[in-house]
Assembly symmetry: C2
Homo-oligomer: 364 residues x 2
């Protein structure tokens, strides 16, 4: 495969020296970009866009045309796996994702099959291969998935939820049934991420968007345990000798960083409630940290954005192991030039934290 | 005033010995009770119910008729203060609270007046006096308020919000304007709680429902600082020598407990993401802790509820300073007998953690 011209992301996730802090944005290919909205409209539906590799590739590359980012992330949805399992994903206008066939009983959970990635999710791996080709080594491509717990919340609740009454009733009343579902999902996620890696993903990220809704002991048993199972099953060492780092992100998981640091992930995503310096002290040398600007800061004026970027960088402090990002996906009503201000501020303000390292982007 | 026959709550909040862990539930007077729904329907609207002291008194006492609880909490709403400031609180059917006149600019914020509690919120203090009379010393009455930050989110967003785009833009772009609003709210809350204390509230609680949405530094500056200002201004020492403890609860604030413990509050409310034993080690002898069963556990079967109550009690461990509660308000679709199972489990399982203390309820 093509040489990687900018490997800051990979190096930072391995806690190796870099010349400046790498930066990308969760949901960087998305609705805040007018060029995205245009393609999205042409595609007719969000799922059409995900399922057409050429279009997914085009929107994946859009933010890189505007901003000097250090990574591309596959354009897709976290709910492709349950959709491939037959739950019938759809997006109601103005609402979140929904399933036509949510899981309502043990029999439905028992009947679920781990999807055949090649047969059922080939559109994702095709997109990964195409994006890699089009990127031509410019920056690494990040593949991703939802975590088993987060996927299960949508599958059991039937869509987004505020309090998660159905899945939590299942969790407390019939934990073995939920474990059976989570184990199937963990095996599915492992196969899915390995297929993305095989197709060319150079880093992978697992989004545990709703892990923070769990009680602390339930988090360990019903989310983190499956993250560990997946990390154990990832083929992170490529035959060519390169390594594919994995990032695990539990939104609202700041209390549990010590446990998350032992998940086997190379990096942890953090939301904006966490002080990066404290997080760094808590996890020690075990993992890199990715985050964590409050996405709402991008509503503010560029000089405020610059100041707040400076705070995040200063909180992490000097030395390797930090990937700059938002603490959650960019909001759809953010002006693109505010995202630009954030990226530029990272470029300008971060080199001082990497002094003594003259390690710029290196060919891999 | 009448002697307090059951002072477990007060003693626990002062970290004094008790015979068993006191228990009450946030939102214990509420929609999960059929007798509440009946009165609510008679009242016509939620605000009618809040504003009629006889009805507010009746629903405040309803859960005490069913369950052996160690406290009553005033039936009211956190948004009475902004309503008294003229923002026009209303409840759209099936939606959360809304304001007819949300704050959209600096001039509107400057024009706001601190309400005259006697003139504008007399219905609340009247309810407190009436409930005290009807309680006749059976258990203490808790008064409450929303925190300045949480009130401000509704006032600026115009209602509930997911990401708080308007108030966070204000926070980052015009922090002085937001501080002016929060200072007015802090002065209003102080006067409001002092009036509740004067009318007979024997403990007070401040709900910072949305503090957990803030970035860590913003939380300190825009929520915690005002909690401290309010705690400083509370008249907690009554002329009769009794003391009115104050509880501060930031949902999602588990990362910031050390700072919250220095707010001047006697107790901290905790949600279910926090391990009570770890929280206790972190705050030391400074504050009591209140919580923290996941409210969704009340969807489970009674034997599961009992087991999970046991876990919460065991996590706190032996000794004084724990008030048992849910980690958030009880959900409206919980069967009342599940709440009963929780209360009974606390009664049965908690005395072992207070062994050696033969200090039962004492006359105050």
């Amino acid at each position: 495969m093509t040489e990687l011209k900018n490997d800051r992301l990979i190096r930072a996730l391995l806690r190796q020296p870099v010349d400046r802090t790498p930066v990308w944005m969760m949901r960087q290919a998305g609705r805040y970009l007018p060029e995205y909205r245009e393609i999205r409209q042409q595609a007719g539906s969000f799922m059409n866009l995900c399922q057409a590799p050429e279009l997914a590739c085009e929107v994946t590359l859009q933010p890189l045309e505007r901003f000097d980012l250090d990574a591309a992330i596959l354009f897709s949805d976290i709910l492709t796996i349950p959709d491939a399992m037959g739950l019938g994903l759809y997006f109601a206008e103005g609402e979140g994702p929904k399933f036509e066939h949510p899981l309502r009983n043990e029999a439905q959970i028992k009947a679920l099959n781990v999807p055949d990635v090649a047969a059922d999710l080939g559109y994702v791996t095709d997109a990964v291969s195409l994006i890699r080709r089009e990127l031509d080594g410019r920056v690494p491509l990040i593949g991703f998935t939802g975590s088993p717990w987060t996927l299960a919340t949508y599958m059991v609740e039937g869509g987004s939820s505020r309090n998660f009454p159905r899945i939590k009733t299942l969790l407390y009343d019939q934990p073995r049934v939920l474990h059976a579902l989570l184990d199937k999902l963990a095996r599915s996620v492992t196969a899915y991420l390995n297929a993305q890696i095989e197709a060319g993903a150079q880093a992978v990220m697992m989004f545990d968007t709703w892990g923070g809704a769990l009680a602390h002991a339930a988090y360990r048993e019903f989310s983190l345990a499956y993250a560990r199972q997946i990390m154990d099953g990832l083929n992170r060492h490529r035959p060519d000798g390169s390594y594919v780092p994995a990032v695990f992100f539990t939104k609202g998981g700041g209390l549990w960083l010590e446990a998350m640091a032992q998940s086997g992930a190379d990096g942890l995503g953090l939301d904006w409630t966490v002080h990066l310096g404290e997080a760094r002290r808590r996890v020690g040398q075990r993992v890199a940290l990715q985050g964590n600007l409050d996405p709402c800061i991008l509503y503010a004026q560029p000089e405020v954005i610059r100041r707040e970027v400076g705070h995040v960088l200063a909180e992490y402090g000097a030395g390797p192991g930090h990937v700059f990002n938002l603490g959650h996906g960019i909001n759809p009503d953010v002006p693109p030039d505010h995202a630009q201000a954030m990226v530029e501020a990272v470029h300008e303000l971060s080199p001082q934290y990497h002094a003594g390292s003259d390690t710029g982007p290196q060919p891999h």
